[in-house]
């Protein structure tokens, strides 16, 4: 606890405690989603919760508990780098999952990539044909 846990200090403690509980619950939600969702793409949806919002809440609770200003830029750097790198890995995993057909196609509401893939395949086939002839 803080040295004088009265007034504003106690409220900061309560706020950071709520942030910690909610941030931890994001991890639990991701684990439940990993266990219960049917295919890779929906599991990816669940997996982003602790990586973005959960990490934000926990870093904010660190900043609130330390009660210093200089720690906030470091926490911001950690969160911004997480925001920059998580989409990269999600893109690569989703791309590999789409190509190796780790998805239930009947569960998709729309598949905008399929038209692009078919157009590219048709174009490649046409160029092959003209090259042969």
């Amino acid at each position: 606890m803080s040295p004088d846990s009265t007034g504003l200090d106690a409220w900061v403690d309560v706020l950071s405690a709520v942030f910690m509980i909610v941030g931890a619950t994001m991890s639990l939600g991701a684990a439940i989603g990993l266990l219960r969702f049917p295919d890779l793409l929906s599991r990816m949806h669940a997996a982003t919760k602790p990586q973005v919002l959960g990490l934000f809440l926990l870093l904010a609770s660190i900043g609130l508990q330390m009660r210093t200003w200089w720690v906030w830029p470091v926490l911001l750097v950690a969160w911004i780098f997480q925001l920059l790198t998580v989409p990269v890995s999600a893109h690569m995993v989703g791309r590999a999952g789409y190509r190796t057909k780790h998805l239930h196609r009947e569960l998709l509401t729309s598949d905008e990539l399929e038209a692009v893939v078919q157009k590219a395949a048709a174009k490649a086939a046409r160029e092959d044909g003209s090259g042969d002839g």
Partner: protein, 92 residues
């Protein structure tokens, strides 16, 4: 109050880690395992953050920053080289 929060978050993180490990061990495809490993890494970073916040030290802060910077390399590497070796698709 902080000790109660620490206990509650420890229980929640433990359950979450158990769920992620179950998905790693069971996961029908390689990509499911990679995804669950990412979640396990996020859970580890969250547990480090809670430890720092409750005990009011910053010993692990650089570790959290490093995880957020280079944690994606593993899953990108595995996803780059994944191949489809299954007999019938959509079994996940």
């Amino acid at each position: 109050m902080m000790q109660i929060v620490l206990a509650v978050t420890a229980v929640i993180f433990s359950l979450a880690a158990v769920g992620a490990i179950i998905r790693i061990s069971r996961g029908p495809s390689l990509l499911d395992r990679v995804l669950a490993t990412d979640v396990l890494l996020a859970i580890l970073g969250g547990a480090l953050c809670v430890d720092m916040a409750v005990n009011r030290h910053l010993n692990n802060l650089m570790l959290v920053v490093a995880i957020s910077i280079i944690g994606f390399i593993g899953s990108v590497t595995v996803a780059r080289f994944v191949a489809d070796r299954r007999e019938q698709p959509n079994e996940s």
